[in-house]
């Protein structure tokens, strides 16, 4: 029991909880936007992985972190564009398309990795190509509050995006339109809203955010690219989104729980402590079953829109 308290009192644990939570919050936020507009998105995993790969490729080639982040976001958005094109233009089953994106991203990144760097490991990012950590003056020494300092720059970006997108979705005209398109596209279309345009925009935004998360993972946390390095984080973000009932702040709560889980499992590797690692996942199930209960997605989520068909 005492060992557990010491383990939990370690500020490093909470610092990495913040980091891991924000890493998950970015794709979860992307998922919220996409599904609020009516396009089911389970492809965050693939978009994130693509972002991570191209961030490292650009980082090694040019050594400029900002440029690499932009490349990663564009790479994520390209994957999202495929998903959007197939599920909006061709009215495909959006789960099939999403799974295809995830398989495609894993295959493509490994294929290009073998092509660019041979079958050996991808080299580490050069000095100066990492995403910097930001020192918040004034809070460093304060116990517990200090964990918000010394975080990666993307963590702060993610916080701003979370607040901004929450306001955008629920307090702005554009947000109302996005939600209208996801709930009742026929009515939105009648009111003169371009359903397709908003859906394309929302899905591509999810790709930008997931690509950013990929860059964060590769350039801020790991420092290189490994095969399948997202390791299910995109799916966890999906779970956080559903757990949070398709709202940014709800998803954040889910991300904090899973971020804590990731931070814990990164510190325990073997023995019976592996069983402790199950707690966040079991806790999620219990909370979902006991408190959250039935959660319903936006009414038109997953249904391709065709004009004139009710």
């Amino acid at each position: 029991m005492n060992a557990l308290l010491i383990f939990l009192a370690n500020p490093g644990l909470w610092q990495s909880t913040v980091e891991q939570s924000m890493l998950l919050a970015l794709p979860a936020l992307g998922g919220v936007i996409s599904e609020r507009s009516g396009v089911v998105n389970i492809a965050m995993e693939g978009m994130m992985l693509t972002g991570a790969f191209f961030a490292v490729v650009a980082g090694i080639a040019w050594g400029n972190p900002l440029l690499a982040v932009v490349v990663a976001m564009i790479a994520g958005a390209m994957m999202a564009l495929i998903h959007a094109f197939i599920s909006i233009r061709f009215r495909a089953d959006q789960i099939v398309s999403g799974i295809a994106i995830n398989i495609f991203a894993l295959g493509l990144t490994n294929f290009l990795k073998d092509k660019f760097y041979g079958t050996s490991d991808v080299p580490s990012l050069p000095d100066g190509a990492h995403l910097p950590f930001v020192n918040l003056p004034g809070v460093n020494g304060i116990p517990w509050v200090g964990i918000v300092s010394q975080q990666n720059v993307i963590v702060y970006v993610a916080v701003v995006l979370l607040v901004g997108i929450n306001i955008l979705l629920f307090r702005s005209r554009l947000g109302l339109r996005i939600r209208a398109v996801g709930e009742r596209p026929q009515a939105a279309d009648t009111a003169g809203i371009n359903v397709y345009l908003l859906r394309y925009g929302a899905v591509i935004t999810s790709g930008l955010l997931s690509g950013l998360a990929g860059a964060f993972l590769a350039m801020g946390i790991v420092g290189t690219f490994n095969t399948g390095m997202t390791a299910g984080k995109g799916y966890i973000a999906l779970a956080a989104m559903i757990f949070g009932r398709w709202t940014p702040l709800g998803a954040l709560v889910g991300c904090l729980v899973f971020g804590f889980g990731n931070a814990v499992s990164a510190r325990i590797l073997t023995g019976s402590s592996l069983l402790w690692g199950m707690i966040p996942y079991l806790l999620t199930i219990i909370v979902l079953a006991g408190l959250v209960g039935r959660s319903s997605p936006p009414a038109a989520d997953g249904i391709p829109y065709e004009p004139g068909v009710e």
């Binding site: 599920s87 061709f90 009215r91 398989i103 295959g107 023995g271 079991l282 209960g293 068909v309």
Partner: protein, 419 residues
Amino acid sequence: MASPSAPVDGKQRRSGLLGMSWLQRAATSLALPLSSIAISFALGAVVIAVTGGDPLLAYTKLLCGGLGLGCGDDATPALQISNTIFAATPLIFAALSVAIAFRGGLFNIGAEGQLIMGAIASVVVGIRFASWPAWALLPAILLAGILAGALMGGIVGVLKATTGANEVVTTLMLNYVALLLSQYLVLNGPLQSPHTSSISLPIGAGGRLPAIVPANVMFFDQPGAAYLANSGIFIALAAAIVFWVILRRTTFGYELRAVGQSQRAARYAGINIGWITIRTMLLAGAFAGLAGAVQIAGGTEHYLGGTTYISDTTGFDAIGVALLGQTGALGVVLAALLFGALQSGGQFIQSHAHISAELGAILQALILFCVAANFLRTFRPQAFRLPWWRQDRPPDEGAEEIAEAEMATPGTSVTEDTA
């Protein structure tokens, strides 16, 4: 929406096939998969050419590596076919698991966790009763896998039925629980082999599935031990038949499909949705658990651990297989064989054409895209009239099905769609 009096049948578009000859019918139902494969290979050729490879060489080697066709002196066709069957076997089980859940309106993203649980249970039984003779041990191992998988699935079903907990989240969470449990048991845990780390003790000799080619026989100039395919494939085919029978020939299967097509309609018809959900997930878990048991009993090493269960993606690949196979029994088997051929063919081109084995995964994804988008439908004149983002396309069957199923109570025609 089409008129409410239209047939309720989910696969309504297929009813038009009844007037055709069997040849026309076969051609119509094969058009989508075959055209998708053709388009994907064309796109794949572009990927190979752009990255500086020779598409013709790559595809010749892929054909040899996957299907054993057109091999020169550098490969044994029978060996390649054996590799494909070996890769396809667990995919069939896991995809049946995903498919039965889809049919019942549930997204089982946790076939992976159910599979790991099945593998753990069969290893525990295989070690504990290692001295049992084969006629007792092998069924016990398979049964243990089925029960453990069903337990994992059943938890999800019960939670969904009683509290409404979303099955995507719960299955995903249980994946991690199963993975951590397997790591605990194998990494310095109670099941670890005293000789090798990160690997469990072997199961009893009687628990192993018989190989198709006996180990000490020379077959096409290769020792039998090189042939990985084992009798697990026959269990997989039997499972596919069981899947079909349950879905098409039992009341439960009828109710499962009714719930999957429209919960509202099913409720009006007096079907207990919660109970069907629980049974669907029990069954889905059982199929995936059997995948784990067959992996253990028929695998190359007969061990739990190593790379197989730490970074295994069978349960996720199976989602692609189930969707490509359009959640039908025959479709799943064919799709699993195709994915298996692309996996073993991918390994082969890496060693024989120096093109990354990942080409197989890229082709898998491209085929899925093409099946999902059904590009064939776009070869119509009106597709050129409007800008592409506002094209008015022929009504999509999927949307109509949902709308119609919402409207009407389940009719007799539900029984007529093909599994």
